[in-house]
Amino acid sequence: MESLKAIINAACAPEIMFTAILLVFFFLFPPNDWFYKASKKLGLNKLWTKNGGIGIFVVMILFFAFGLSDDNFRLIVIKPDNVPIVGLLFLVVFFLWLSLKQAWENDKRIEEGKPPAEADDAKEKVLVWPDLVYIELIALVVISALLLVWAIGLGAPLEEPANPTVSPNPSKAPWYFLGLQEMLVYFDPWIAGVVFPTVIILGFMAIPFLDNNPKGCGYYSVKDRKMAVSIFLFFWLVLWIFLISTGTFLRGPNWNFFGPFEYWDPHKLVALTNLNLSELIYMIILKRPLPENIFLREAGGFIVMGIYFGLIPLILAKTFLKDVYQRLGPVRYSIFIVFLLLAISLPIKMYLRWGFNIKYIIAIPEFFFNI
């Protein structure tokens, strides 16, 4: 039992968990034809059937049941403000299953030359009174009952009175912002807390203008809009839900990583061996002191950024994303690729940190300008 817990603790480490997710993600949520076929061949689409759903649900329940037998796990998961996130995890998985089940069923119908199931339903018209109103009523009664039971069963948390001189360790933002706080591990506050939220909001608002595929409106489908679904699910499941869960359940004192069955030891020591790209280039590779001039010192970082945002979009437009470029045209493609590269910069920064201990690519602390 203890060894199983140790294995799970180790597997939950961000670098391992995230890599595992990356490896399976595109097979589960195929972005193109090749992955779509591979997904079918491997039988992964069977997850999105009734039996698959029951399987996923049973595994989740078993994990939580097993976890709740552990004191450390229980301490974090049962914390009143964390309960909604446990609920959120189950709901997200359930609705992911529900949408993909219908999507794969519709895909099959479309392959057979039939319209999606929604189109069959849509032929019939029903009156709002009573057909919609009674569904709304039931939904309201159910949610009211749920809220009432929840409110009676679980008291709202109230800690000690506010004391500006005693800061709790860890100090956490409200749970829906913990994805942003988790990004603080890899980026400075001005990026993780200001630029990225702005980019996320603008990026989400831009979705209807960047996805100009006319197919797939008004019914669940994967096949008709593979890339859109795959990219969105990557944001939603990995960069949103996964980061929030990590920030909530797996980050303890000093924002150190703790496995789900690990005691939150405030004295856990984690070696800080991070260095900046400029230090790597000058001090380790060239074996000489850092230059005085800021721009000379950070030249390597600026070149990397220039290549990343200047050259890579051009190369991608000619190669992997040729179709996308043709469909979107230069303006939309530019916007699309900037959003995409900004989003991918997070995993890249993660791996630079895990693999090479790189802290900043450009580090100008003189102006608080660190990337």
């Binding site: 709002v128 709790p168 200001v194 996805d211 102006f367």
Partner: protein, 264 residues
């Protein structure tokens, strides 16, 4: 008993009072025409169309999340109004009032419903966005309504964030401290953000800890009296006002853009 009740109801429906309130009058809703009139003649129901394609009423298609978000918002408004009777947004009283809420006030469940409802609304709004994406419902002609939806999602989180401070306990002020520190890092506008030190004439900095974005948000250099009042006003009046306007546009556009999405 039901016989008597029915009789009473039938008689009541014939009164002038009943007919004055309900435009359809007392006739039983049994015919096709009357079912249409019920929706048409009621200000709340007329948010709906008269009839819908069948897929649009199926829970497996809609997940009910949009409607539930609105419903939870109403629950939060009602419980919030009740809470406002007892809560004073000052450093002196806030925490004590929260304790009194659960210990002295009859039906002291309102704070629980309000807090869990707030979490629930964040979740239902997210899931609503998830559903809208998975059905491709942001595609033309619904692009603008998707954008309004994103703004509503952000406002929902801001509502929740501002409310988080009000209990004035350790959880509250440190969560807001963590959150508001990020505002201090805003490029150019935050004292600890990149470029802020460039906005200076000689030795005089324009952007410093008492004039930057964080200060504007907190009404002070740290989370204190000013921040509590600011968050209280935003939470109870400011943001609800804004969110209502966006909700009106959102609901209206759902109808104007052709109702709920469906296969063409």
């Amino acid at each position: 008993m039901s016989e008597g009740n029915n009789k009473f109801l039938e008689n009541f429906k014939k009164t002038q009072l009943y007919r004055a309130i309900f435009r359809t009058g007392g006739a039983p809703i049994s015919t096709h025409k009357q079912r249409i009139l019920v929706t048409l003649n009621n200000v709340f129901l007329h948010l709906h169309p008269i009839r819908l394609p069948k897929h649009a009423v199926k829970v497996k298609y809609t997940w009910c999340m949009g409607g539930l978000s609105f419903f939870v918002f109403l629950v939060l408004t009602i419980t919030g109004i009740l809470l406002m009777f007892y809560y004073r947004p000052t450093v002196e009283y806030a925490y004590g009032d929260i304790i009194d809420l659960s210990e002295q006030v009859p039906l002291g469940l309102m704070r629980e419903i309000h807090r869990w409802g707030a979490h629930l609304m964040v979740i239902t709004v997210w899931l609503h966005m998830f559903r809208v994406f998975m059905t491709g419902s942001y595609k033309p002609p619904r692009e603008f309504n998707w954008m309004v939806g994103v703004i509503l999602l952000v406002l929902t989180m801001l509502m929740s964030f501002t409310g988080y401070l009000l209990p004035w306990d350790q959880l509250a002020i440190w969560a807001i401290t963590v959150g508001s520190n990020m505002a201090g890092a805003t490029p150019l506008l935050g004292a600890s953000g990149p470029g802020a030190s460039l906005l200076a004439i000689g030795d005089v900095n324009f952007v410093h800890a008492a004039s930057d974005a964080r200060f504007a948000m907190l009404g002070g250099r740290f989370v204190g009296e000013g921040a509590l009042l600011r968050f209280y006003v935003l939470h109870c009046i400011g943001l609800p006002f804004v969110i209502m306007i966006f909700m009106i546009v959102h609901f209206w556009r759902v109808r104007k853009d052709g109702g709920i999405s469906g296969p063409t």
